[in-house]
């Protein structure tokens, strides 16, 4: 087995040199396609195991499709769900490129969203053109600060960001609960922890209200596209982006080349946090209109999957975010139409990532899908 493996590895390497396009195509298109197909099949198996009959399974997958791309409303919902996933996913992708495994998007989203809400209702007298952008900025800056704590700890003391960001997540839930019960944040006359509403002048305007007042697609979609362009520019067209990628690829080489490793870590974490904070601000200013306990609803964790699926590339993250947005929107339809719990989407998402992150596994399951491998097994 070991001999075969090493032979395979050597052949892969050689073939990579000979035909890079073919391998790249397989990695970028065939592996995700197979991953998605296997995840759907295993999702169906899970449903079967919990006593869901075949007709309902069929109906739920139809609902998944219809609910994500089947109508204007479905497309709008898909985009609404994709916006925060892409924004937070871009932040995480940036961190991955710099060699930082930031699990803390969830907390950064919560803190950013809370800051945007508070800024919005505190300065509600300002006009829309000033208040809305500044509220977004408040969210981004707070997210940057919150992530910056983990970055600083890593740079100054070497505390690993995986543990510190997880702890910051857990702290953020409590901090949010506490803030929401403060008299100047809590909505008047409410006993439960709910913030005051975002004033109209701070809301991201709905884009398709003229078509149907129920369509929730909001201006955050432009923020998302701008962010994709910005991260692309930052990573691949600037010196800072090069330093991120260099210190991610080889921290030692980057240090010997005279880059300030600590500073890069802090800036990369802060930028990632700013994007996650922006995602939180988008949620409260565009969809929710207020902050409630745990309003991030796991977006920060799904965003990890989005960043991995998108191979930490801004364009890839955009498509991965759209796919996950579609799964979310379709999942809700599935719950309504077929009565299958939306948690099933979580299982499918996890399975997609397993197969994406372990291309060897997909190649082992589907040897006939990959030309290189197939030749290898027959020889």
């Amino acid at each position: 087995m070991s001999v075969n493996e090493s032979l395979d590895a050597a052949r892969d390497k050689l073939l990579q040199r000979a035909a890079p396009d073919r391998t790249e195509f397989e990695d970028l298109v065939i592996v995700p396609l197979f991953a998605f197909a296997v995840a759907l099949i295993l999702g169906a198996v899970t449903m079967l195991a919990t006593g869901v009959d075949l007709a309902t399974i069929g109906r739920s997958y139809v609902a998944l499709l219809v609910g994500s791309v089947g109508s204007v409303n479905a497309l709008s919902e898909t985009l609404v769900a994709a916006i925060p996933l892409v924004l937070a996913g871009l932040g995480l992708a940036l961190g991955f490129r710099a060699g930082l495994f930031n699990i803390g998007a969830e907390g950064q989203i919560l803190m950013g969203g809370l800051a945007a809400v508070i800024f919005g209702f505190t300065f509600s007298a300002l006009p829309f053109v000033i208040l809305m952008p500044l509220s977004l900025l408040a969210g981004a800056l707070t997210g940057a600060f919150y992530a910056g704590i983990a970055g600083w700890l890593r740079a100054a003391t070497g505390a690993h960001e995986v543990i510190s960001t997880i702890m910051l997540n857990l702290i953020s839930y409590r901090l949010l609960d506490y803030m929401l019960s403060l008299p100047w944040v809590q909505r008047e006359g409410r006993a439960d922890p709910v913030s005051r509403s975002v004033p109209d002048a701070a809301e991201l305007p709905r884009l398709l209200e003229w078509l149907d007042p129920n369509l929730r697609l909001h201006a955050g979609v432009f923020v998302m596209l701008l962010a994709v362009a910005f991260v692309y520019w930052l990573l691949f067209r600037t010196k800072l982006g090069f330093e991120f990628r260099a210190s991610g690829a080889s921290p030692d080489a980057a240090r010997y080349a005279g880059m300030h490793a600590s500073l890069i870590i802090v800036i990369a974490m802060a930028t990632a946090g700013a994007l996650a904070g922006l995602a939180g601000a988008n949620q409260v200013l565009g969809v929710l209109g207020r902050a409630t306990p745990g309003f991030s609803a796991g977006i920060g964790f799904d965003a990890i999957a989005v960043a991995l699926l998108g191979r930490s590339h801004p364009i890839g993250v955009l498509f991965a975010g759209l796919l996950f947005g579609a799964l979310q929107a379709g999942g809700r339809q599935m719950q309504v139409d077929a009565g299958v719990g939306i948690d099933l989407i979580g299982i499918i998402q996890a399975l997609v990532i397993v197969f994406i992150a372990a291309p060897l596994l997909v190649r082992a399951i589907f040897p006939w899908g990959f030309r290189n491998r197939q030749k290898g097994t027959h020889q």
Binding site: S6, F96, D177, G346, I353, A358, L361
Partner: protein, 421 residues
């Protein structure tokens, strides 16, 4: 993007960071002392700590502490440790000073909260032990994996899987069957993790995150889809406490260590056994060799892949046992995401405990202490909002990891896949 690789820190960076770290520890301690004086300074009356319960055979008198003087002395000692650390920066003293300072801070806080009141120390220590169990087992599971150089972020998911299986199988076939199934399922996820990272060479942190996502999705799905309708499937028996004769009558220590259920005894035995195994047996030495230098181990004829599979699976079984604590050891019922980050705190306990089973247990006791402190303080009605008390263990984790990590060295090959030549 390779997260696992970043777990390694070059030695040069540690040396450079060492001086700064002692400074930071010093500054933290001075701040802590200032906090103790400013916030806790006003504490009239005595704090009474009960060391025995009315029905105990050996009754110790209550411990009565004059609150105000104690708090000022604790603050002065903390400030002294901090200043010494900040000015002289003694390398070997950093960890000890931080531990002592934090301990004094916690004691001062406890005295302040109890001032003019009475408080059962025995009850709190007993709760500390109980709450430390899942964290200690999570930490121990992570130690077993990291000693063979597999980073196991999936401890959280394995705990959750154990909790779920314990509730489901416990309801169907009874407590012992539930416990056994939880261990088996934990081992299964350990085996899956090993397969993903050893055979398919997936990034270890990604594999762990994925297992966490998967278990969370699966258990939440089943509990909303099945448990909501069939409640009898989520109603497992709970293991009661078993008193150990004679030993359980010792004051303070007896209730803490010898009036507990099988999860506490199991955790203590596993820590002892795994310490002996890792550091005093031939196979343990081989396992550690695989974690430190897999190439050398391979050359000497140790099967690196097999060793990793075996230990990660055992780690998963330990985590499965720890997960069963949440259902079979406490409430008998599974709730969505009921582990609530205990697995991650277990990872922090492993780092805090320097990749040693006993160290992980000690660290888990510290976390269990802050956890139970929060519960007990809610009863004393302190003016501090409960949210901040709930944050305390997490803040403590960050402080501890930031203060210690440079001095604790992970196994040299930790997080790296091994490819045979």
């Amino acid at each position: 993007m390779n997260g696992a690789e970043t777990l390694q820190r070059p030695n040069a960076a540690i040396d450079l960071g060492a001086r700064r770290r002692t400074r930071i520890v010093g500054a933290i301690l001075i701040l802590l002392a200032a906090f103790v004086v400013v916030v806790l300074g006003d504490a009239p009356g005595d704090a009474t700590f009960r060391l025995s319960r009315p029905r105990d055979i050996w009754v110790l008198p209550d411990l009565i502490v004059p609150a105000q003087p104690f708090i000022y002395i604790a603050a002065a000692l903390t400030a002294f440790l901090g200043a010494r650390q900040f000015l002289r920066g003694g390398g070997r003293w950093t960890t000890l000073s931080l531990g002592l300072g934090l301990g004094l801070g916690v004691l001062a806080f406890l005295v302040w909260a109890t001032a003019g009141n009475a408080f059962s120390l025995t009850g709190m220590l007993q709760a500390t032990m109980v709450r430390a169990v899942p964290i200690a087992l999570g930490g121990l599971a992570a130690v077993m994996c990291e000693r063979v150089a597999v980073v196991n972020i999936a401890v959280e998911g394995m705990l959750l899987a154990g909790a779920f299986t314990g509730a489901l199988m416990g309801s169907v076939v009874g407590g012992w069957g539930g416990l056994l199934s939880a261990v088996v399922i934990g081992g299964l996820f350990g085996f899956i993790l090993a397969a993903l990272v050893v055979t398919y060479r997936m990034d270890q942190i990604i594999a762990g995150v994925v297992i966490n996502l998967f278990v969370l999705g699966l258990t939440s799905y089943v509990s909303s889809q099945v448990f909501a309708e069939m409640r009898h499937l989520n109603n497992a028996p709970v293991f009661r406490a078993i008193d150990i004769p004679l030993l359980s009558d010792i004051p303070v220590i007896g209730p803490m260590l010898f009036q507990q259920n099988i999860f506490v005894y199991g955790a203590l035995i596993m820590v002892a056994v795994s310490t002996y195994y890792l550091f005093h047996t031939r196979n343990g030495l081989r396992a550690r060799a695989v974690g430190e230098h897999p190439r050398a181990a391979d050359t000497l004829g140790i099967d690196v892949y097999r060793t990793r599979y075996l230990h990660v699976t055992i780690g998963g079984m330990i985590a499965g046992f720890g997960g069963a604590w949440f259902t079979l050891g406490s409430v008998g019922r599974f709730d969505e995401n009921m582990t609530g980050g205990r697995g991650f705190i277990g990872l922090a306990a492993m780092v805090f405990g320097r990749w040693h089973p006993v160290g992980a247990l000690m660290a888990a006791l510290v976390f269990g202490f802050t956890d139970s402190l929060q519960q007990k303080l809610a009863l004393l009605q302190t003016p501090i909002p409960s949210e901040f008390l709930a944050m305390a263990p997490y803040v403590a984790t960050i402080v501890v990891v930031a203060g210690l990590i440079g001095r604790a060295r992970p196994p040299a090959a930790d997080g790296k896949p091994y490819v045979k030549e």
